[in-house]
C-alpha cells in the first residue's frame, strides 16, 4: 500500500483551511493511504485554533519561516515518516484536490516530480494579470535556457514528488520563493519532471503575497537563484 502525504503550508488561512482539508478527505485512491499535514507557519490569526478545534493534523511552527521553510518542514516530516509520495498544496483553496489521483498516477509512471500547471491547457479559471504572465513567461524561458526543458507554470505550488525528491527537498530547500529554484535543481539532477494541466480556482480568501516592489525583488531574486542553481547543481546524485 502506497502512503501519500499532502503537505499544506498555511499562513493566516483560518477561513479556508477547513475547506481544503475536507476536500482532501473526499479523495479516495485505491491501494493508497492519503494523509495530510498542515504546516502552520506562525500564523497571527486563528489558524492554530481552527486546527485544534477540528482535530486536524498540523505542525505548529514556533515562528514564521516563510513559504519555503514551511513546505520543507512538510518534506522533512514525509522523509522521517517514510512516505512514498508527497504532494504540496496551498492552504488557500486555490488547488483542486480532485487532481490528486492524476498527480499520483504520473508519479507511478516513474516521474520524480509532477507539476500541476495552470498554463499547459486553457482549462483554468485562473486569470493572472498581464505582468504576472509576462514574469512567469520570462522565468519559464530562463529555465528552458538553463536546463533545456520547458515548464510552463514554473511557480506552481501544486506539486507531487516521489521518495527520491522528498529526501532531496528535506535536506535542501530555499526559504523564500522556492518553486522555480528547486525545479532547476531537480532538472539538473537529471530527475524526470512532467507538467500536467490542472484547474485552479481564484483564491477564496486572502491575496497574493507578491505585489508592487516585492514583484521586482521577486524577479531579481528568482532569476539569480535559477542561474546559481544552474551553475552549482551537479549532475546525477
Amino acid at each position: 500500500m502506497q502512503s501519500i502525504l499532502i503537505i499544506i503550508p498555511a499562513y493566516n488561512e483560518e477561513k479556508s483551511i477547513l475547506q481544503v482539508v475536507s476536500n482532501i478527505k473526499k479523495v479516495k485512491l485505491e491501494g493508497a493511504r492519503i494523509d495530510y499535514i498542515i504546516i502552520n507557519d506562525g500564523s497571527t490569526d486563528n489558524t492554530r485554533q481552527v486546527c485544534i478545534d477540528n482535530d486536524l493534523n498540523f505542525i505548529d511552527l514556533p515562528c514564521n519561516l516563510g513559504i519555503g521553510g514551511a513546505v520543507q518542514t512538510g518534506y522533512k516530516y514525509a522523509y522521517y515518516n517514510n512516505y512514498d509520495i508527497a504532494i504540496q498544496m496551498d492552504g488557500d483553496n486555490q488547488h483542486d484536490a480532485n487532481y490528486i489521483p492524476e498527480l499520483v498516477s504520473e508519479i507511478n509512471k516513474n516521474y520524480d516530480l509532477v507539476i500541476g500547471s495552470r498554463f499547459v491547457k486553457e482549462l483554468s479559471e485562473f486569470k493572472s494579470s498581464f505582468l504576472r504572465r509576462l514574469g512567469i513567461n520570462f522565468l519559464s524561458n530562463l529555465i528552458k535556457l538553463c536546463t533545456n526543458f520547458k515548464v510552463y507554470d514554473v511557480t506552481s505550488g501544486y506539486r507531487a514528488c516521489n521518495k527520491k525528491v522528498i529526501k532531496y527537498f528535506a535536506l535542501k530547500y530555499p526559504v523564500d520563493y522556492p518553486e522555480p529554484d528547486t525545479l532547476v535543481q531537480i532538472l539538473k539532477k537529471k530527475m524526470k519532471v512532467i507538467e500536467i494541466p490542472v484547474k485552479m480556482h481564484e483564491r477564496s480568501t486572502g491575496k497574493s503575497s507578491i505585489n508592487g516592489f516585492k514583484s521586482i525583488y521577486y524577479m531579481i531574486k528568482v532569476s539569480l537563484a535559477i542561474i546559481i542553481a544552474n551553475i552549482s547543481t551537479k549532475g546525477s546524485d
Binding site: I37, I39, N57, F58, I59, D60, L61, P62, C63, L65, G69, Q72, T73, K76, Y77, Y80, V175
Partner: protein, 117 residues
C-alpha cells in the same frame, strides 16, 4: 598628517576599545566576536602612529594625503567586517530555520505520543 588629527583618531580608537571591554564584561558580546573589532582598532592605531613613514606609500598608491589613505583602509576594513557579519547572519538564519522545523515536528510527534496513552 596633522598631529591633532592623529591624536583625535587614536583617542577615538582607545575609547572604542574601552567600550568593547565594557561590553565583554557586561556579557553583551562574546570574546570571539570582539576580536575582529580589537584587531580593527589595533591596525588603525598602528597605521596612525606610522603615518610619518607612510608618505611614500601614500603617493605611490595615488593618494593626495596620508589621512585619505588611512580613512580608505579603515573603510575597506569595515567593509570586510560587515560582510563577515552578513555571512554570520546567514548561517544563523539557516540554523534557526532548521531548529524551528525540528521543534514543530517534535511537538507534533509529542502530541501523537500523548494521545496514544
Amino acid at each position: 598628517m596633522n598631529i591633532r588629527l592623529v591624536i583625535l583618531l587614536i583617542a577615538f580608537c582607545v575609547l572604542f576599545v574601552t567600550y568593547i571591554f565594557y561590553n565583554i564584561f557586561k556579557r553583551k558580546i562574546t570574546l570571539q566576536y570582539s576580536l575582529m573589532w580589537f584587531s580593527y582598532c589595533l591596525i588603525m592605531i598602528v597605521l596612525l602612529l606610522s603615518s610619518p613613514i607612510l608618505s611614500s606609500v601614500t603617493s605611490f598608491l595615488g593618494f593626495e594625503v596620508t589621512s585619505n589613505m588611512i580613512f580608505f583602509l579603515g573603510f575597506v576594513a569595515l567593509l570586510i567586517v560587515s560582510f563577515n557579519i552578513t555571512r554570520f547572519l546567514s548561517s544563523q538564519k539557516e540554523k534557526i530555520v532548521i531548529l524551528t522545523q525540528e521543534v514543530g515536528i517534535f511537538k507534533e510527534e509529542l502530541k501523537k505520543y500523548n494521545g496514544k496513552d
